[in-house]
């Protein structure tokens, strides 16, 4: 049962081979059994899940079902869930019961999905290894002394370990694609503005985007149908029609132009990862795609630009945590200043404070032009690289990460080496483009992900290109031992 995809479970529910309550209990049991070591969930919402599952079964009995009615799902703990603890991986929000639903949650609830719980993540989504979480690191299901990736580490690991058939995540600089790659599953970051940011706890507002994890591109398409769409409550939500993302999955790839950015296949790329990606490229050639080399000349600048823009926006967004209206408050504040300073210092972890400090510095008087404005100008150059590339090719293909998963603790004392693990994913956020990571093989028994990027609102194309690969390979069907 745990190996079935969302599409397969949907058929079983339709054919009444299983009820949503049975399915939900099955996954809740798996979480109880396996998650004490994996640490992929912060909160398991058993009562909430069983109530939703009963409602789903009632709807199915009345013939009012959508394909997703009764499908269990896990949500990243960054999404506000009405009446359920929403921590964002931080001590700051350890006591925070969200008073409303994020639009992404509401849309998926309305489609009939059943929330199993809230998944572990890097604190306020700031991290690439899930090690900055107040609730401890998530283990990689393939090898437990390795990181799950981050920031959506719990969402990726829970799906990889078959504790949930699918999950939500967010991606600001690679936080869906990188953990999807490191855990061996499929993860989609849609176009900026495709899914609402309302009720999704803000990190860097011009980069944050909600997306999905599942085993297959087909499952992601089914879920994106429900999740995507315009939302008046998000001022940067884009009013662009939502197609049926499953409609184009089976289009053939004859003549599809795939570009390989030479800057993504340079000296920083692990040799064995490079070979694995080359094997995947040959599959696309067999499917009729035309491969050519392209250039994204400003790639090396994407990480420095990101580490100005993201911390700047983070320092503004996280100013709201002041210990006054919700969240952590220090004990016995001497005065208001002390209340602010100690609540924030005791409530935030090291990486979050580091980024608030960088952001505060680059926005402070006299430095704004040299850092933030300069970064925004180079952001346009990075964006223009993609505009030029998409004049020649339909899809850009690259590794998702330069190496397989690294060991827990390996990079925690060196922030810059941690930041560079997102070198291939950050540019898509800066340019607002949709990107997907799919599993394409293993190096040292650790999964390797391949990234596909396409033009704005090209999610249907991306899912089609990913799905076609998954019809001729079975990497997405591999599961870690012991689960």
């Amino acid at each position: 049962m745990q190996h079935k995809t969302v599409a397969e479970l949907s058929r079983e529910l339709t054919e009444k081979k299983i009820s949503s309550v049975e399915l939900t209990q099955f996954f809740l049991e798996r979480i109880k059994h396996f998650d004490s070591t994996l640490n992929s969930f912060i909160t398991v919402s058993e009562d909430y899940a069983l109530t939703a599952a009963k409602d789903a079964d009632a709807k199915r009995a009345q013939g009012k079902a959508s394909p997703l009615t009764g499908i269990p799902i896990a949500h990243k703990d960054i999404f506000c869930t009405d009446g359920v603890k929403t921590t964002c991986g931080s001590k700051m929000l350890d006591n925070f019961i969200a008073p409303y639903n994020a639009t992404v949650i509401q849309n998926l609830n309305d489609a009939g999905t059943v929330m199993l719980g809230k998944t572990n993540m890097d604190e306020f989504a700031m991290g690439s290894s899930n090690e900055t979480s107040y609730y401890g690191p998530v283990k990689n299901p393939w090898q437990s002394d390795y990181v799950s990736g981050g920031s959506s580490g719990g969402s990726a690991a829970s799906v990889a370990a078959l504790l949930a058939p699918a999950s939500t995540g967010t991606d600001t600089g690679g936080s869906i694609r990188q953990p999807a790659a490191l855990c061996g599953i499929t993860g989609l970051k849609p176009t900026y503005g495709r899914a609402s940011r309302y009720g999704m706890i803000a990190f860097a507002s011009s980069l944050d985007q909600a997306g999905l994890f599942a085993h297959t591109a087909e499952d992601v398409a089914l879920l994106l149908n429900a999740m995507a769409g315009f939302d008046e409550k998000d001022s940067t939500s884009v009013n662009h029609p939502v197609p049926d993302y499953t409609a184009a999955l089976n289009n053939n790839l004859k003549g599809l132009r795939i570009g390989l950015p030479k800057e993504y296949f340079n000296a920083g790329l692990n040799n064995e990862v490079a070979q694995t990606i080359q094997t995947a490229i040959r599959e696309y050639e067999k499917l009729g795609a035309v491969i050519e080399e392209i250039s994204l000349p400003n790639t090396a600048l994407s990480v420095p630009v990101y580490y100005v823009i993201a911390p700047a926006e983070c320092s503004s967004n996280l100013a709201r945590y002041d210990g006054v209206r919700y969240g952590y408050r220090c004990v016995n504040p001497a005065d208001l200043q002390d209340l602010y300073e100690r609540s924030r210092s005791e409530g935030f972890g090291t990486e979050v404070k580091r980024r608030i400090m960088i952001g505060t510095y680059v926005l402070s008087a006299g430095y704004y032009d040299a850092y933030y404005l300069k970064a925004q100008k180079i952001r346009r150059l990075i964006c223009n690289d993609f505009v030029n590339a998409f004049k020649k090719v339909d899809v850009i293909l690259s590794p998702t990460t330069p190496t397989p998963a690294f060991k827990i603790g390996e990079k925690t004392s060196d922030p810059i080496s941690m930041y560079l693990s997102d070198i291939y994913t950050i540019a898509a956020n800066l340019a607002g483009l949709p990107g997907i990571s799919i599993p394409v093989g293993f190096v040292n028994q650790l999964p390797i992900g391949m990234q596909l990027i396409t033009n704005l609102f090209g999610e249907a194309k991306l899912l089609n290109v990913a799905h076609q690969y998954q019809t001729v390979t079975d990497w997405h069907k591999q599961s870690p031992r012991g689960f």
Partner: protein, 98 residues
């Protein structure tokens, strides 16, 4: 680019963070390294380039000036650290006249 411990203290104050002496030492080393890394941006001439604030290059939408938020004050107050009579309590900020 090197940040002195005093500069780190000033930034921490602006960000309303109180840092221990150990933290200040650690952050001044780490933040200096990160700023050095960011300095790579200076290799690029951007004099003719317009800054990009929104990845889709569109400006924020306007909406009619009507109240759309429901009144959830009671619900919000149940998750507040300290409230009284519908108000959020903080330490006294106005000194009493002597």
């Amino acid at each position: 680019m090197s940040l002195t411990p005093d500069a780190v203290k000033k930034i921490a104050h602006l960000a309303r963070l109180s840092l221990s002496e150990d933290d200040i030492a650690l952050y001044s080393t780490q933040l200096s390294k990160i700023l050095d890394f960011i300095e790579q941006m200076n290799q690029v001439d951007t004099t003719q380039i317009e800054p990009l604030a929104h990845p889709l290059d569109i400006s924020q939408r306007l909406r009619p000036d009507v109240i759309t938020e429901p009144n959830l004050r009671n619900k919000y107050q149940t998750i507040a650290p300290q409230v009284e009579a519908g108000l959020y309590l903080v330490p006294k900020v106005i000194e009493e006249a002597s």
